[in-house]
């Protein structure tokens, strides 16, 4: 009799809880997904200038987001570059021309680097332009060489150089490496899928 | 010759030069002697004379009961004046027999010599017991007890402790030089009593003359050897000396006989032949009166019970800056508040230390420098023990070997924070004893 009461109370509690939560979930899940979609879409439009819409193309499990111009042409392509930073995973969306020789724009989707140091890759509150670091990658030509970084000197844009953040060399270096690696890997893959 | 030693230890300034070259002198008979009935650990002896009695030099005046005990004799002839409590150099106020000298020093009997080779071992032991011989290094343990190890523990090596590692003291050194024949005769007697196969005489290398002399004298005896040991404190601590000479470790809580060894002090060995051959009891000993506070440091042969005052006066008195009077050596000796205390059988030295030497600097907190750990001859961690005792963690303190402390004072000597480590460990030992009883 006693144990029956225990079972009933626990069952009812969990049941009610489960039912309540499933209702809540059916309300919340679409919103959460919509938000994530919005963030991604925002990022895609950010890195791929002058497009009207985009379409997803999947080659061997890698997603490419192809930008479609108002004329209906595939003009550029974006993909994700993921790797380890100093203390967190970095997710970067890289937008390039379709031949993958020139970077158009990059967007840092996710980072959790050391506050005040590594986070400067996303937001440098002390600088005139807080987003200066990622913007350095814009319009770099990487047909012949990989991106390289320099410290405490003026980077040579022609040679695909960017300037590392003082005090956050590792985070800077990681961003460069992640992008280089993703471009190398995806260039052939994408071309083969054309 | 190879110099042996033990692990760790320290080397305080020796100050032996003050009295090392001074020949042993007899001092004039004192007017009064105060003979303590508590010469050693264990129950005090019971007086068998009463005030007003006439006594002769060497007459038995108090007797002890039980196994660990020894006899007390009149050290001069005269009249028993008083039996009362007087301050003793070991810091208590035991009962003492005051004898007023008649100035004649009339012996109880003629002390005729016999050939000890003819005596049985039992008889020799008996004579040593009757003569009231105790360890003269300081602890004053009855010698006859030490010479009667249980049959289960055979003794193979007898060690003469000639280290005299305490700074200032030179009495043993002088005795080795001046009484070497007696020392060797005593050694042979004790070896026979113990049935030991060999004797090692351990002498610190700062007494080279003694080492050479004894080496020469023992050259023909293969079973007696002289072994120089490093000049290091506390080289004369029994367990450390055994470790240095034989590489045998006396187990914690055990005695030297557990590893087949008996150790005797130089003074003790020298006292033995007289007792065995003539039955004359122990009524005098050699005391080093020294220190910067003594005008003319000397080594003196004095009657047991002579007040320190007489010794000091014989040595020219005290300098005005004398700050401390100590019974024994500076490392383990006991500070006295008066110079009226008498010499007891364990008094190896009377030190008068001046302010600049004894000045205790301010105590700091422990900075964990580890000096005490590197010094402790028993391998303890004094700083930790003290902290455990301070916080009443007696079980842990005991487990870490507090009871093994030999109270040599090396830790407190080296401590840069001037923490009285050994004093606190002594308190801890008492607390642990109380707890266990």
């Amino acid at each position: 009799m006693k144990s029956a009461k225990l079972i009933i109370v626990l069952t009812v509690t969990t049941l009610l809880s489960g039912i309540g939560l499933s209702f809540l979930n059916s309300w919340a899940q679409p919103k959460i997904e919509a938000y994530q979609q919005k963030v991604l879409e925002q990022a895609i439009y950010d890195v791929l200038p002058g497009i009207e819409k985009y379409k997803v193309k999947e080659i061997e499990g890698t997603k490419f987001y192809e930008g479609i111009s108002p004329e209906g042409q595939t003009v550029n392509v974006a993909f994700r570059a993921i790797g380890r930073g100093f203390q967190s995973e970095l997710r970067i969306l890289v937008g390039m021309d379709t031949s993958m020789t020139k970077i158009l724009n990059v967007n840092l989707l996710q980072q959790a680097e050391t506050p005040g140091l590594g986070t400067k890759i996303a937001d440098d509150p002390g600088a005139d332009n807080p987003a200066w670091f990622m913007q350095q990658f814009d319009s770099l030509t990487v047909a012949q060489q990989d991106i390289d970084y320099v410290k405490n000197e003026e980077p040579d844009k022609e040679n695909a150089e960017i300037e590392a953040i003082t005090g956050a060399t590792i985070s800077s270096k990681s961003v460069v490496n992640i992008i280089n690696k993703a471009i190398d890997n995806n260039r052939e893959l994408y071309n083969s899928g054309q | 010759m190879q110099v042996k030693t033990f692990k760790r230890g320290t080397h305080p300034p020796e100050f032996k030069e003050l009295a090392a070259d001074k020949k042993i002198e007899e001092i004039p008979l004192p007017e009064n002697v105060f003979i303590s009935l508590s010469q050693h650990i264990g129950a005090p002896c019971k007086p068998i004379v009463k005030p007003g009695d006439e006594v002769k030099t060497g007459q038995l005046i108090a007797e002890g009961e039980g196994f660990v005990t020894s006899q007390v004799h009149a050290s001069l002839s005269g009249k028993v004046k008083k039996i009362d409590k007087y301050p003793s150099p070991i810091g208590t106020k035991p009962t003492m027999i005051q004898i007023e000298s008649d100035g004649n020093d009339e012996p109880l009997q003629e002390w005729t010599e016999e050939d000890w080779h003819k005596l049985s071992i039992e008889e020799m032991k008996n004579r040593i017991a009757k003569a009231g011989i105790v360890g003269m290094g300081g602890a004053a343990f009855p010698t006859n007890v030490k010479l009667s190890p249980p049959e289960k523990k055979p003794i193979d090596t007898f060690i003469i402790n000639g280290c005299e590692c305490e700074p200032f003291l030179t009495a043993d050194h002088r005795m080795m030089l001046e009484n070497s024949d007696k020392l060797l005769e005593g050694t042979r007697i004790i070896m026979k009593i113990l049935g030991a196969k060999r004797t090692i005489i351990g002498i610190e290398e700062n007494k080279l003359d003694a080492i050479e002399l004894l080496n020469k004298k023992t050259a023909s005896e293969s079973n007696i050897s002289v072994q120089p040991v490093k000049t290091k404190y506390p080289q004369g601590a029994e367990k450390n000396l055994i470790d240095a000479l034989l590489k045998r470790k006396v187990p914690a809580g055990g005695l030297p006989m557990d590893v087949g060894v008996v150790v005797n002090n130089v003074g003790t060995a020298i006292a033995v032949p007289q007792a065995v051959k003539t039955k004359k009891p122990l009524i005098e000993r050699v005391v080093t009166v020294t220190g910067q506070g003594i005008k003319e440091p000397k080594n003196l042969r004095v009657r047991i019970g002579t007040p320190f005052k007489n010794l000091i006066e014989y040595c020219g008195g005290l300098t005005p800056d004398t700050k401390k009077i100590i019974n024994g050596g500076p490392m383990m000796g006991i500070a006295q508040y008066t110079i009226d205390v008498p010499v007891i059988k364990g008094t190896s030295g009377v030190l008068a230390l001046t302010e600049d030497i004894t000045q205790k600097a301010k105590e700091f907190t422990c900075i964990r420098c580890g000096s005490c750990v590197e010094t402790c001859p028993m391998g303890l961690v004094p700083t930790r023990l003290v902290r455990l005792i301070e916080f009443d963690k007696l079980n842990m303190a005991e487990e870490m070997g507090t009871m093994s402390c030999i109270e040599c004072g090396s830790c407190a000597y080296v401590c840069p924070s001037n923490i009285p480590l050994v004093q606190r460990i002594k308190v801890g030992k008492q607390l642990i004893n109380e707890k266990n009883n």
Binding site: E153 | A252, K362, T365, L380, V414
Partner: protein
Amino acid sequence: MAKKNSEEQRFTLSSSPHLSKEDDVNKIMNTVIMALVPAIAFSVYHFGWDSLLTIMVAAGSCLATEYLIKKMRKREVTDTSSLLTGILLAMTLPPGLGIGFVMLGSVFAIAIGKEIFGGLGYNIFNPALLGRAFLQASFPVKMTTWEAPQHLAMDAKSFATPLGGYKFGESVIQNAGDYIDGLIMGNVGGCIGETSAIAIILGGVFILVKKYADWRIPVSYLGTVFVLGGIFWLISPANYPDPIFHLFSGGLMIGAFFMATDMVTSPVTPLGSWIFGIGAGVIVILIRLFGGLPEGVMYSIIFMNAFVPLIDRYTRPKYFGEVKK
């Protein structure tokens, strides 16, 4: 004759021993400070009078902090250890760090690093290193901007250290000549007091000889770095620097001789000292070769400091005649 009476009273009673070695805490501290003089002198030559100013500000702030806290706790300042802390802290700071930062680090070192635990003898971590760790964590950019030594005419305002150079692929040290002149003599960038190995070793050997530092710690610490660094170098000379470079670069020398040997925060047992030094050495190599930072000396010592009570506990020597139960 009144003197006769008083004579009996004037003897002091105290427990044995009645002798004591002349060392005391202040003498130790002052000797260690003396031993730092060569390194201080070199830093002045190397980085200019600013470095002396930094040292003086740090030492002054440490003394002042100690005085204020002791006053709050209604105690007296009895030792000069905070002076030493201040000097050591300054030695580990980059030249040209602002006075305000130096003061902040000093206050932190004494207040949080030492006094909060109860003062000298009770602190767990080396106070100077804790002060530096605080500054490093708070102002990482300032703390890793190296001013060029003043007598080396350089255009660049900031200057890479040998270790930073290795980590980020711009080697400062390339040939044998650089070793002697740069690493051993100290003509490289770095913290105020760390660049000249020779000046530090001079002082370090002095305190070792004086026995104011446990020789086992620098020996095991440097030895581990050398051996472990050497093993990696032998495995892959292209990827890892050679052991000599490890030994003489960064703060290893000053760390091994003056920081790790801090009596309060290192083990008291001889075996413990070996373990402490080896542990710290392993951490230095791990951080330098595989970590995110160019230098790991500070963290290696602070990290091992935390283990000292444990090390002491398990490395208690066997006492004389102890029978294992």
